[in-house]
Subunit: 246 residues, 2 copies
DNA sequence: CCCAAGGGTTGATCTGCATCAAGGATGCAT
DNA sequence: ATGCATCCTTGATGCAGATCAACCCTTGGG
């Protein structure tokens, strides 16, 4: 247990980013064995990676870009239940199919492992299973934190919460003076609405309101700069230290 | 992986109910080792089991009664993020504290394992870790299914969804003719509201409405009978087969 | 060059649920 | 029996966010 601190990132072969270790003791021979079964896949923005209930014959992690897990009711109402940013893990070892639609919301690169050999390795290598348990517990915490957002926060707080997550996970230090974070929104207004349990009109209005009030600076429709991150966190009503979310 | 089918229940020592196996291959010596570190704890309705951020030195499962995981914002808004029914697992191996308040909503019996020895056993016994991963994935599915409820369902659908969960998990076959399920609500109206992201007044009104419309039969404030379960599922807007939830 | 499609904004109006408020039922302590 | 607390119900009113609708901007294709 805990062979690796919670969010430790390790270099995985030639992956362009350091991503969360699946192989708990990197640099060791597990990593090499992982290398031997891994491959890359590219997706375009909007493309579906797996349909819910479809068989999913791989697991992997996001290397670049953003993907979304969504659930849909018969009448078309949809709810995003997970947002996958670079280093996030996808797939359910020991499960046949996907429980959700997985779609790329931007162009996407994934580092995949074929599921069968990955599961075999997992069975032989205890700390991979432990590491996966760690990661699943993180996802569970994120999902539960999001339940608070969905159940109890106002539209403005929801938007601020989402922006805070993205800002935190995209750690580009301030370029211009007076800007503490700056990023490109990887989601359309509609996708944001689906994540937040709102309509796209409400998302648009609240984005305008946050801009008007100086909480964010919008350049174009997608580029967001945050002059004061703690101000943004306040708007999100965030009690938490922002530990686990997504 | 998958040494045990998803919801297989096994007899664990003298526990009065068959609960979900922590020890994946029951009847084997892991079970005996588990027996040697286990103990029971009783709680009264309303009692807090662990406070969020407190150190939690045990893991375990609910034997009888119901417990709730809740998160609270500084201003007092609270959201229940998990409902623990008999056989559900509590605790986060490899984690220090609890991320949520855990409280008993009814009188409660838990079967506990001290955390340290449990983790030690987990490290030595691979399929315990696998089993725990299975269970955590189930919880993750439940949390995500609940995100759809919180984000996209109406008050009436939310109530119906909650009743459907409880009815499904409390499999007492119909006593009177024309009654397909019947149970005692383990939650106050306020607790239901906290789970559903509503106010207690709205919960009360929708319960009355479901009663008026013949979807449920209310005897007193807490006893619920369901004449037609598929009708209730329809009201819940449930597309799913009701696979994972709670 | 024009047109269509996708993404975004903003306004007017409607409505589901929250909020505020009062009162009923039950149980328990004095 | 009386008082008080907890839990629940129901009514009146208000408002946040949904819905309906118009319009803008950008991109890309004939």
């Amino acid at each position: 247990m805990n062979t690796l601190a919670k969010n430790t990132l390790v270099k995985c072969g030639e992956c362009p980013i350091r991503h969360r270790a699946v192989c708990a003791r990197c640099e060791s021979d597990e990593l090499e064995r992982l290398e031997s079964i891994k491959y890359y896949r590219n997706f375009e923005a909007g493309q579906t990676i797996v349909w819910s209930n479809d068989k999913m014959d791989f697991v992997g992690s996001v290397v670049a870009g953003v993907a979304a897990l969504t659930q849909t009711m018969e009448d078309g109402r949809t709810q995003m239940v997970g947002l996958l940013l670079p280093s996030d893990f996808v797939g359910r070892p020991g499960r046949e199919g996907s429980a959700y639609d997985v779609t790329a919301t931007t162009d996407l690169v994934m580092c995949c492992f074929r599921k069968k050999p990955f599961e075999k390795m997992m069975a032989e290598t205890p700390h991979i299973a432990h590491r996966l348990l760690e990661m699943t517990l993180d996802e569970l915490d994120a999902a539960r934190e999001w339940m608070l957002v969905l159940g109890r926060k106002t539209a403005r707080e929801k938007i601020a919460s989402l922006l805070a997550i993205i800002a935190r996970r995209d750690p580009r230090p301030g370029l211009s003076p007076g800007v503490e974070a700056s990023f490109e929104l990887p989601l359309t207004r509609e996708a944001m609405a689906d994540y937040l349990g709102l309509t796209l009109e409400t998302v648009s209005r609240q984005m305008s309101a946050l801009k008007r009030d100086g909480v964010i600076i919008l350049e174009g429709k997608r580029h967001v700069s945050v002059p004061d991150i703690s101000r943004l966190m306040d708007e999100a009503g965030d009690d938490s230290d922002g530990g686990y979310l997504v």
